[in-house]
Amino acid sequence: MGNTKHIPLGVGFYPDWWYKNYGISFGREYYYDADYRVDSQAKMQKILYDRFGDVGLGNKDPEPKPLITFGMAMLPAICGCEIIFKDDALPWAMPLNLSKEACDKLTLPDLITASPMKEMLEQITHLKSKYGKVVGDINTTGVQNLALKLRGDEFYIDMYEDPEFCHRLLNLCTQSMIALWQLVYPLTGSGAADVTPMCDPSIYCVANCTVEQISGDTYLEFGLPYDNILGETLQPFGIHHCGSLDAVAEHYAKVKNLVFMEAGFGTDFARARRLLGPHIAFNARISPVLMKNGSTEDIAAAVKDAIDQGAPRENYSIDTVGLTHGVPDENVRIARRTVEEYGIIS
C-alpha cells in the first residue's frame, strides 16, 4: 500500500483527549509560553506515534516545531472579550454584547501594541531567535463570528432591523481581520494552519463557523460581500465552514479567488463539490460525535460514503477533528485504514 496514492484523512484530537490521557494542558500557558508549547507539541507527536504509528500518525523523533497559535480568540481578545482558558478545552471568547452605539465607536485596533498580540509578537521574536523560524499563524476568525462576539446574538435581530449598522460592523471586522493577516503572514508565510490542517498553509483560510446558522439569502446579503473583500485582498482564499454547507454552497461558489473549501458533517458533499467545481480543493469532515459513539462499521461506512461523494478524488480530502476523550482507538484506525484501502486515487 505504501506508495499508492490515496485520499488523505487527517485526525485531530481535542484538548480533553490530551489532558485526560496524558496530562498535557491547553490552559493559558499553552498560548502564552512558547517554550511550553513547543515542548508539548513534540510530546504530542511522540505520543501519537506510540499510540497510532501503525496507521501513520505522529513522529518517532519529532523536530521542535516553533508554532504560534491563539485558538480563535485573538481578535475577540484584542477587542476586549474575556478569554476563558481551560486545561482541557480550546480557549473561548465571551461575547461583549455591546450596544449598537458602542459598536459604532469601535475603531481598527492597533495590533502591534494591543494585548495579547503584543505578547504574541514577543513570542515570535523569541522563537525566531531560538529556532531560526516560526510556523503556524493566528486564526483571524470569521467576519460574522467576530461581529457576534462584539454585538452578541442581537446581531441577528439587527440584520432585520438595522442592516446598515450590520454592514458597518461587518466592514470593521473584515478590516481588522485583514490587518491581522497582513501583520502575521509576512512573519510566518502561513495563513491557514490555525484554522485547519487540511488546507495548504500558504493560502489564507477564514473560519466561517457561524454561517451554519444563517440562510443562503442572508449569506448573500451579509456574508458574501465581506468574504469577497477577503478573497480579493488576501488571495488565494479558503473557507472553513463548520456545519452543513447545504444552505450556502451555491453562494460560496461565487466567492472570488476561492481555492479551498472545508465542509462540516451533515453536508451533502457530492452536491457541494459539484456546485464548487473540482478545481476547488475540498475537505469533508466526519462527525466527531459518530467517531465517539459509532462502531468501527459505522466509521468505515461514513468514510466510504465521504469518499464516494467526493469524486473526482484529486483535490479531495477527509478529516475528523475534535476527537474527545472516550473516542475508541479502533475508530481512528478504521478511518485511516478505510481511506488507504478504499480511497485509492487511480
Binding site: K86, A89, Y156, Y160, T218, D246, A247, K292
Partner: protein, 215 residues
C-alpha cells in the same frame, strides 16, 4: 386579510415594528386578548418552527419572529384581567452542560417553548450538575432541559442525570436532552433521561408529551 390574520403574518415575517399597532387595531375591534395569543401568535410560532425544522428558515428568522411575538404579548399583558393571566403550561429550566458554551441552539429552544406557553428559565451555559438540580428545585421545574454540543459534555450529561436520580426530585422532574453531541440512544437508553429532541419544534413536542399536554 383580517386583523387577526395580519397579526399571525407579522409574527411569521418578524415585523416587530408593526406588531403593536396591529394588536391594538384587533383589540379596538373587540378581539379577545387570550385568543390573539393562543389562536394566532402561538399558531404563527408553530409555523415558524415547522419552517425552521424544514430548514426553510434559520436562526435569525426564528429569533425575530419570537421577538415580534413578545412585543405583541407586551401590548396584551396589561389587558388581561388579574387572576386571568396568560396560562403557563409548565415550567422548564434550561441550560447547557458543564464545559460547553454553545448557546444559540438552546436559546432557540427557549424561545419556542416560551412562545408555546411554557414558563422558561434559562440558566445559561457551563452549568454544573449541582446547579441544574438546585435551580430545578428552587424554581419548581416540571422539566429540565440539558443542551450539549460537545462530546466532552457526555460525562457531564450523565452525571447531571444521575444527580437528579439521587435527589429528592427523582421522578418529579422530567429530564430532556438535546444538542448536536447527544443521541437518543445515549441520553435515554444509557443515561436514563426521560426524553430527547432533535430540534426546537421536537423539544416542544417531547416536553408536552411528557407533561401530558395536548399538542
Amino acid at each position: 386579510m383580517s386583523d387577526l390574520e395580519a397579526i399571525k403574518q407579522a409574527v411569521i415575517k418578524g415585523k416587530r415594528k408593526d406588531i403593536a399597532g396591529l394588536v391594538q387595531v384587533a383589540i379596538d375591534a373587540g378581539a379577545d386578548p387570550q385568543e390573539i395569543i393562543n389562536g394566532y401568535m402561538i399558531e404563527a410560532m408553530k409555523e415558524v418552527g415547522a419552517r425552521f425544522e424544514a430548514k426553510k428558515i434559520f436562526v435569525p428568522e426564528m429569533m425575530i419572529a419570537a421577538r415580534t411575538m413578545q412585543s405583541g404579548v407586551d401590548v396584551i399583558k396589561p389587558l388581561i384581567a388579574a387572576g386571568d393571566e396568560i396560562k403557563k403550561i409548565g415550567t422548564v429550566v434550561m441550560g447547557t452542560v458543564f464545559g460547553d458554551l454553545h448557546d444559540i441552539g438552546k436559546n432557540l429552544v427557549v424561545l419556542l417553548l416560551e412562545s408555546s406557553g411554557f414558563e422558561v428559565i434559562n440558566i445559561g451555559e457551563n452549568v454544573t450538575s449541582e446547579d441544574f438540580v438546585e435551580k430545578a428545585r428552587e424554581l419548581k421545574a416540571d422539566v429540565v432541559g440539558m443542551s450539549s454540543l460537545l462530546t466532552t459534555g457526555d460525562p457531564h450529561l450523565k452525571s447531571t442525570i444521575e444527580a437528579f436520580k439521587k435527589s429528592d426530585l427523582n421522578g418529579k422532574v422530567k429530564l430532556v436532552c438535546g444538542g448536536a453531541a447527544v443521541t437518543k440512544k445515549f441520553a435515554v437508553d444509557e443515561c436514563g433521561a426521560d426524553g430527547y429532541a432533535t430540534d426546537a419544534v421536537d423539544a416542544v413536542r417531547v416536553m408536552k408529551q411528557l407533561l401530558e399536554i395536548a399538542a
